[in-house]
């Protein structure tokens, strides 16, 4: 198969929804999800920093690209996620681990 796509599918269904990304440096950003890739790098549009703009240097920033490794949490809109389906997807993933062999 095309390698481990594990954490990606739920994000694919969320493209276009507003999400809040909390980073490991405690910065939390709300924005509309534009794209996600296999490393869970995230692109957001129309971002707004969450906490009282303690980070004034972000005032002028409209869109951003966030490297996946610095993300701590991603808060998703609850009605957009089907948890039972997600559990099933995880079970399948466990049963058929995608072959880690890829160029």
């Amino acid at each position: 198969m095309t390698g481990n796509i594990g954490g990606l599918p739920p994000f694919l269904t969320l493209v276009g929804q507003p999400v809040t990304v909390e980073l490991k440096n405690d910065l939390a950003i709300t924005g509309v999800l534009v794209s996600v890739d296999q490393f869970l790098n995230i692109k957001l549009d129309n971002i707004k920093v969450v906490d009282e703009e303690r980070y004034p240097h972000m005032l002028a920033v409209k869109n951003c690209f966030i490297r996946g490794s610095v993300v701590r949490y991603v808060q998703l809109p609850a009605p957009s996620v089907d948890t039972a389906l997600l559990q099933d997807a995880a079970r399948r993933e466990r049963q058929q681990p995608a072959t880690g062999a890829r160029k």
Binding site: M1, T2, G3, N4, I5, P9, P10, L12, T13, V15, G16, V34, S35, V36, D37, Q38, F39, D82, A84, L85, L86, D88, A89, R91, R92, E93, R94, Q95, Q96, A98, T99, G100, A101, R102, K103
Partner: protein, 666 residues
């Protein structure tokens, strides 16, 4: 090439070396020149075509070639060598041109690459540095004209033409302004300024293009294909369900919902990471090709798997190769030593009849196995072979048979995993009940039921009924606890509805049998104090009533069966007697008690007059309380109506109504 920017390039006859251009033709010529000038932004007036010959040719060294043969040898093939070096020369030239574009362009269109006269990539070798691309060609034109015109009359004509051109410029400007008469110089200057700005912008754009074009042609087509293949291989999958399960099913479900609500949801295809889904038709072929490429890549990768551990010869130990697919472990979790039974995640354990430890992990393991089978069954369902078309029944029949077999095998395995057929009494609680005690287990039941045969469902129900009181949701103290409430709700939402459906279709004797089992094996008082217990009781009672009155799909039961039923009913009633009022929760908990009223109604329907009397006496307090509360205290009209409705559930079954209740005056 008889048309050269509108110029008539037919060589005029040599009539004393003078071009026979009358005024009209001259004006036409000038007009063409002006038009060309306006298009390209050239300003002709600065050119003085009178003295373009620079006499440099006079300084050419034409002599001293005598020793050529000795220097170069007689058999030096100039042409061939030039031919060999030509491409390099050309490339050098282009680079030179591109570089020289950075130097002063002077406001003229400095398109380095595209020469309108000679086409792309050709330059006159004698091109002076720093000039825009246009001028040499213009010079060429003028040179040609001057050559055909001859020398002297040439100069005269130039001057004439110059004056003409001034008039022509003015005329052109007038045309731009819509025929207004000549206006002040300021306006002309403004026009020129506007033009200059346009030219500047065009120059910038072209400079940018040239900048980008500087790096054209670095990759070959095969290079680009290679990169494309790698990128696409990340997106294209062999079996969309395997890798992209969540997306596929989620979008399918959502589309089904949307279609039910009338909104078109046609975006079935999983959109790639860029969210780009271009014309599907045109991409069909490319997708096929990509699929083939991907399959090739995948099979190659399968043959030579990249190892996650690299062991160099002679080194001590392995080197872990980290990648996206094999990330470094952040946490080190140590496995505990011994379980009484180790359950591997992929190998379901066979049910053993002996004393089975019901440690939580074991039960959870069973539940996960059930999930595995359920998922497999659902997947199988999706891959159900289509019904055979005419004439293909042989082949299709084979496929269908095979599918049925596989489906049956899976279904049987799932059934075994549920531990329903384990005999009662060996282990307490019964394994199936243990499964049901977990919310995961409850959630899987509706999905399981879809794949069970009716008799299996009946067995399941029987087992459940037989061991009902050991369910954790059956403990009445659970009401106070939030989590317990959740479990109860879950039970009511997941297990009761499908079984309700089943019982609603069941014949009379089955219902009788189930109720008998229920009463025999369980402490009714205990069971009745729980919501699930009441739900089941209500279920049985109401179904029996319907059947007795012949309203079900079955004929009216025989007397013998009805007698059996009545006997059961009396037993139940006697057991619950004096406990009816206790069924209600203490008001302090503010719990919903509509299910109690429903149960009471079900009881009342099947009761004799005496029994009804007993019922009314016992719950009298509750009824009064509700009615009074609805009528006197200040509560919202909906709540009041609800209370009255609840009470009426019961009262109507007795043939009474809440309005008949006389409120004892305080």
């Amino acid at each position: 090439m008889s048309d050269f920017f509108g110029f008539n390039t037919v060589m005029p006859g040599r009539q004393g070396g003078r071009i026979a251009l009358n005024l009209e033709e001259q004006q036409e010529l000038d007009r063409q020149v002006q038009k060309y000038a306006l298009e390209t932004g050239e300003d002709f007036e600065i050119y003085d075509y009178g003295e373009t010959y620079d006499n440099l040719a006079d300084d050419l060294e034409e002599t001293r070639d005598d020793l050529n043969d000795e220097t170069f040898g007689t058999d030096f093939d100039f042409a061939k060598n030039t031919h060999q070096v030509a491409p390099a020369l050309k490339k050098e030239e282009e680079l030179y041109i591109k570089q020289s574009d950075h130097s002063d362009l002077g406001g003229n269109g400095g398109f380095a690459v595209h020469d309108p006269v000679f086409g792309q990539g050709t330059f006159a070798l004698s091109r002076p540095a720093g000039f825009g691309g246009n001028q040499p060609s213009l010079e060429e034109i003028e040179a040609q004209l001057s050559r055909t015109a001859g020398a002297q009359p040439h100069m005269q004509m130039q001057q004439e033409r110059k004056m003409m051109s001034l008039e022509e410029v003015e005329a052109a400007l007038m045309n731009i302004n819509g025929g207004r008469p000549i206006h002040s110089e300021a306006m002309i200057a403004e026009q020129q300024a506007k033009q200059a700005r346009l030219e500047q912008r065009r120059a910038e754009r072209q400079a940018k293009q040239a900048d980008i074009a500087k790096h054209n042609g670095l990759m070959t087509q095969s290079d680009k294909d290679f990169i494309n293949r790698i990128q696409i291989s990340q997106l294209v999958t062999d079996d969309p369900y395997a890798d992209d399960f969540y997306c596929q099913v989620y979008t399918a479900l959502r589309n089904r919902h949307l279609q039910q609500m009338g909104i078109p949801g046609n975006m079935m295809d999983p959109e790639g990471n860029q969210g780009d889904s271009r014309r599907r038709g045109g991409n069909g072929r490319t997708e096929q090709r990509m699929q083939q490429q991907v399959q090739r890549i995948v099979s190659d990768a399968k043959r030579n798997p990249k190892r996650t551990n690299v062991t160099v010869e002679g080194a001590l130990g392995k080197i872990a190769v980290n990648s996206v697919l094999n990330p470094r472990q952040l946490l080190q979790v140590s496995k505990r030593g011994s379980y009484t039974e180790s359950s591997g995640p992929n190998s379901p354990k066979p049910p053993s009849p002996g004393p089975v430890s019901t440690k939580s992990h074991t039960v959870l393991g069973w539940i996960e196995n059930v999930y595995t089978y359920v998922l497999a069954l659902e997947q199988k369902r999706r891959q159900q072979p289509p019904p055979p078309r005419m004439g293909e029944e042989e082949i299709a029949g084979e496929a269908i048979r095979r599918w049925n077999e596989e489906y049956g095998v899976l279904a049987r395995k799932m059934w075994n995993e549920l531990r329903i057929t384990v005999p009662i009494g060996i282990v307490h609680p019964h394994p199936f009940i243990s499964i049901l005690n977990y919310s995961k287990g409850k959630k899987v039941i509706p999905r399981v039921l879809r794949h069970l045969l009716p008799e299996q469902t009946l067995t399941l129900l029987t087992m459940l009924v037989a061991n009902f009181e050991s369910l954790n949701v059956c403990k009445s103290e659970v009401y106070a606890d939030v989590q317990g409430n959740q479990e109860i709700e879950l039970f009511m939402n997941t297990i009761v509805p499908p079984l309700l459906g089943f019982v609603s279709e069941a014949p009379f004797r089955i219902v009788v049998g189930l109720l008998a089992l229920f009463i025999e094996r369980n402490n009714m008082i205990w069971v009745a104090r729980s919501k699930p217990g009441l739900a089941f009781l209500t279920l049985f009672l109401s179904r029996a009533e319907i059947l007795k009155q012949g309203q079900g799909n079955y004929p009216i039961p025989e007397d013998r069966e009805v007698n059996q039923w009545n006997e059961l009913y009396h037993r139940l009633f006697n057991q619950l007697q004096t406990h009816f009022s206790a069924l209600f929760m203490p008001k302090a908990t503010m719990a919903e008690d509509v299910h109690v009223w429903r149960f009471l109604a079900a009881m009342a329907v099947g009761a004799t007059v005496d029994q009804q009397h007993v019922l009314v006496t016992e719950v009298r307090e509750q009824v009064l309380e509700n009615v009074i509360a609805a009528q006197t205290t200040r509560m919202s009209p909906e709540k009041a109506a609800q209370r009255i409705g609840n009470v009426n559930l019961f009262l109507h079954a007795l043939g009474l109504d809440a309005s008949q209740v006389s409120v004892p005056s305080m």
